[in-house]
């Protein structure tokens, strides 16, 4: 019974974080919620292992990112079509709110970055992972994470202009 309570508490604690990081990664809040829910299924499936981990959040983050990558790859054609339709349609009423527009714009710019650069930025600056933790999550070396982060920041700076003028450098930690 206590294991059940732990699992419930863990899922409830992780879900908001997962939705937000997946929204950054996949760019679509609705898809992010679906992917977060699917991640919870995997948590339930592997709870026996997950609950023993020192940092179960890291495992969950990796699963979530992998799912997002996999889904985006499978749906790449459909996503492009959807984006084209969205570009040509008039902005929905809720986008009149300046913060919502800004958030959506930033997600759109993030979505244009190469997938690993985007993931590295999210892990480093949204999940606050160290270089080593991000390397473990992405399955690459720490030096590769530093390069991905530097390139991602550079791209983001160029695309977003002066709004990102005080972004940190490529190797902040």
């Amino acid at each position: 019974m206590s294991e059940d309570l732990d699992l419930d508490a863990f899922c409830h604690a992780q879900f908001p974080r997962l939705v937000r990081l997946l929204a950054l990664h996949c760019g679509d809040p609705e898809l992010a919620r679906d992917l977060a829910q699917e991640t919870l299924v995997k948590v339930c499936l592997h709870w026996r292992t997950v609950r023993r981990l020192d940092v179960p959040e890291a495992w969950v983050t990796r699963v979530a990112i992998n799912q997002s990558v996999s889904t985006l790859r499978k749906q790449v054609t459909r996503s492009r079509t959807v984006r084209l339709l969205q570009d040509s349609a008039p902005p929905p009423a809720r986008q009149l709110d300046a913060d919502v527009v800004a958030g959506a714009e930033i997600r759109a710019v993030l979505a244009e970055l190469p997938e690993r650069q985007r993931a590295a930025l999210i892990l480093r600056f949204f999940c606050d992972q160290t270089v080593e933790q991000s390397a473990a999550t992405l399955g690459v070396s720490p030096s590769a994470v530093k390069k991905l982060t530097a390139k991602g920041l550079d791209q983001l700076r160029r695309r977003l202009g002066e709004v990102t003028a005080d972004m940190p450098g490529g190797d902040p930690r």
């Binding site: 699992l7 419930d8 899922c11 409830h12 992780q14 879900f15 908001p16 939705v19 937000r20 990081l21 929204a23 950054l24 809040p29 992010a32 919620r33 977060a36 829910q37 919870l40 299924v41 995997k42 948590v43 339930c44 499936l45 592997h46 026996r48 292992t49 023993r52 981990l53 020192d54 940092v55 890291a58 495992w59 699963v63 913060d99 800004a102 958030g103 959506a104 930033i106 997600r107 993030l110 930025l121 999210i122 600056f125 949204f126 390397a135 473990a136 399955g139 690459v140 070396s141 720490p142 920041l153 983001l156 977003l160 002066e162 709004v163 990102t164 003028a165 005080d166 972004m167 940190p168």
Partner: protein, 255 residues
């Protein structure tokens, strides 16, 4: 002027909603049972079909009833009854096993994996679906790779394992090899899955990693041909003897 953390915070400010943990649990349970229920579903379909055609079917056309007295391996938490024959077939492993001694507890019974523990002794009957690439740089994590054509060679040449011996054995009537391994020292990288204990990840059963702890001696049983298929991974604390584990392996028969 905005820094990247603020930007990401703003971009991630989306309606979150609540998780449906009940649905997640249910879906996980369904996936766990999928393989089992596939067999049951087939049997049910046959019974329904037989029922629908009851007028024309002869009694001998009914699905044959198994005469085998074996039991399915108990659910996790259950203990093997000494001398009783169990089948690992429902989870895709082609073996019958019999516990020669009391105390063997089922810790996992999933598709392609039965894990039995007796104190600190572990016997894992497994069908790996992939391996974890040991990588050339031991300080970095590694990626999942397809199963190699020759698993025996892959294990005996694994850069993060020290092979301390190989022995020809017979498992379920077939010529197999038992490979004794320990984790390399020093181990410069410990994956997150090791839960803080130094370990090396070898294979994957679905998404579940198969680990060898640095504090253990592991014995991996696999076909001498190296061909892919079910294997047995056992482990005991370093220095402990494998007699009890070997006795359980010796009970394996083809299902």
């Amino acid at each position: 002027m905005t820094d990247i953390r603020e930007l990401l915070e703003r971009a991630s400010d989306v309606p979150v909603g609540l998780p449906d943990v009940v649905r997640a649990r249910r879906e996980a349970a369904v996936r766990r049972r999928r393989r089992l229920t596939a067999g049951v579903g087939l049997a049910a379909a046959m019974i329904v079909a037989a029922g629908a055609g009851a007028v024309t079917l002869r009694p001998e056309a009914r699905p044959p009833v198994s005469e085998r007295p074996s039991h399915t391996v108990p659910a996790p938490g259950g203990e093997l009854v000494v001398g009783r024959e169990y089948s690992a077939g429902p989870v895709g492993l082609p073996w019958l096993l019999t516990a020669p001694r009391a105390g063997w507890q089922v810790v996992a019974r999933e598709d392609g994996w039965v894990s039995l523990h007796r104190g600190e002794q572990r016997v894992n009957l497994q069908r790996w679906t992939a391996v974890v690439d040991p990588g050339s740089d031991p300080s970095t994590p590694a990626d999942e790779q397809p199963l190699p054509a020759d698993l025996l060679t892959w294990i005996t040449t694994h850069p993060r394992l020290d092979v301390t011996g190989t022995t020809d054995v017979v498992v379920a009537g077939d010529p197999w090899v038992a490979v004794d391994v320990t984790v390399e020292r020093p181990l410069r990288f410990t994956p997150a899955e090791c839960a803080g204990r130094p370990c090396v990840l070898l294979g994957l059963v679905g998404a579940e990693p198969v680990e060898v702890l640095a504090s253990e001696t592991a014995r991996i049983y696999l076909p001498r041909s190296g061909a892919a298929g079910p294997i047995v991974v056992t482990a005991v604390p370093a220095g402990a003897d494998l007699t009890r584990v070997e006795a359980l392996i010796a009970s394996l028969r083809k299902d």
